[in-house]
Amino acid sequence: MGWYVQPTVKQVAASQERLRIGSRQFRLYDVSPGDVLLPCRRNPKALSDMIDVCDLVKTFGKFCAVDHVSFSVPEGQIFGFLGPNGAGKTTTIKMLTTVLTPTSGAIRVNGYDPQRQQNQVRRSFGIVFQDPSLDSELTGWENMELHGVLYGVPSPERKERIESLFKFVELYDRRNDFVKTYSGGMKRRLEIARALLHNPKILFLDEPTIGLDPQTRNHIWSFIRSLSVEQKVTVFFTTHYMEEAERVADEVAIIDHGKIVAQDSPEALKEQTQGRSLEDAFIALTGHTLRDEEAGASEQMRMMRRVWRGR
């Protein structure tokens, strides 16, 4: 599990770039020879892996949305971030992806700090948000083109990548249609294609299959699986569908009331809770109480979009 539980105190030797704790190697950032590395709860200086989160806190007024959360995701892993409504999943993703400032704690994404090295972090990941983020007045191709230019993908390569990604998500025939004519599943596929356009090392998926039919959901997950296998993309996703998480995730973390209550492989969690499925394990860990998510601005927005767009 996480490196942050290591109780050892280590001293950095001259020119030391890596640190071995147990069977895991860690890259060192922001340290100079002679620095003493303490367990992360006090000193988050040794961080490794594709995503590292140490003691992350986010409070909104008195409400603590993310409460001292720590986890790490190694390169190439498919990591499921699960939890009931309002548990802090999306808030965590927002902090990882530079759009929200943490109250305290340390984050490294691909080795960079989302607060101080925003552009390096932004180049490292692609993201599919929980709510659609396409410009529906533009065509599919124009949405991709815009993304490619914003991320500085050079022109000949851009065209090539857009074409192959359109084929990959099976939208090539619809590439010149306006996005407003796409179905929900098609929009999702386009968003995934767009998130991959700049060859990111990490793919964030915030509830990528919400509101989609089983066929499309299957399609998207097998697609994500193949991404991780073929292109070594690290995948960080959240979902409500436990059977999906069980099928694709190498490791899952379960977050509830802003705290991580368990983190392991789905098999290990089932074993630990003696549940038959990950869903049993999930309920065993988070309880049966129904959660009332506060109807914030984004919920109102979804409502409004349903009214206006019939979606």
């Binding site: 927002k94 992806t97 530079t98 759009v99 929200l100 400032t101 925003q118 552009n119 390096q120 932004r122 180049r123 990941f125 993201i127 948000f129 709510d131 659609p132 983020s133 396409l134 410009d135 529906s136 007045e137 533009l138 124009e142 083109e145 815009l146 993304h147 230019v149 914003l150 991320y151 500085g152 601005a297 109102q300 927005m301 409004m304 979009r305």
Partner: protein, 248 residues
């Protein structure tokens, strides 16, 4: 800079594709031009002001630009609600470039709208004096466009939804238009009103346009240009700052 260009292009494409919006936003200036222009024309002439359409046209052009520009800026709220804003916020592009692209795009749209109103004014009987001075008028039109798109951007960055729409309309956009020299001459007005009008950036834009079209300047081309130019820079700065503070 490519990011600025692609975001500019996006605004233009969206504009070109929404015919309803183009026609719709021409309605108001047209109404003002015809109703006020012909309605007050005789009174204005009797009072010794000359041809009212000649006086009014630059004001109406500025109105077309003002409304389109502010709403192009406020489009950020729509982008926030329909999600596209997030796509730009996680892009590895400086916030200033995003604001510049959006603002220049919105301003270009407003400028086009202004030119269309100008052509309508010509059709109604407006005449300019020196053709070589037309580019100067265009410069002033573009400056108003950028300035008010920047104001719209600033407002759109602060507001979370369209609830405040009426507020913006009645307490910002309408007063900007009415408390300017767009509809009536400033000379002889009550001191307080004159003071207010002198604070309004739109006044300097309308004055610059009037001068360039061949009516007389109130302040002179240099003053108009400097006041409008520096205000535009300041508001662009404020707009980018507020935009960079957006958290979603």
């Amino acid at each position: 800079m490519k990011a600025v260009y692609i975001l500019w292009l996006r605004q233009l494409k969206r504009y070109a594709r929404s015919r309803a919006r183009i026609v719709g936003s021409l309605g108001q200036p047209l109404l003002f031009l015809l109703a006020l222009g012909f309605g007050f024309g005789p009174t204005f002439a009797k009072a010794g002001g000359g041809n009212y359409i000649q006086f009014l046209a630059p004001g109406i052009i500025s109105m077309g630009i003002l409304f389109t520009a502010v709403f192009s800026g406020i489009e950020i709220i729509w982008d926030r609600q329909f999600g596209f804003l997030k796509e730009t916020l996680v892009a590895p592009v400086s916030r200033l470039h995003i604001v510049l692209g959006r603002t220049l795009g919105g301003a270009t749209v407003a400028l086009i709208q202004g030119v269309v109103v100008f052509v309508i004014c010509l059709a109604v009987g407006f005449r300019f004096v020196h053709a070589p001075l037309l580019p100067v008028a265009l410069v002033f039109m573009f400056m108003i466009a950028v300035l008010f798109t920047a104001i719209g951007t600033a407002i759109g960055s602060v507001l979370e939804d369209m609830q405040g729409f009426q507020l913006i309309m009645n307490f910002i956009v309408m007063p900007l238009f009415f408390f300017s020299n767009a509809l009536f001459p400033v000379q002889g007005l009550p001191k307080a009103l004159q003071f207010l009008i002198h604070l309004n950036p739109l006044t300097y834009g309308v004055d610059g346009m009037r001068g360039a079209f061949g009516t007389t300047f109130l302040f002179g081309v240099g003053t108009d240009f400097v006041v409008l130019g520096s205000l535009t820079m300041v508001l662009l700065g404020i707009g980018s700052y507020l935009f960079s503070k957006i958290q979603i």
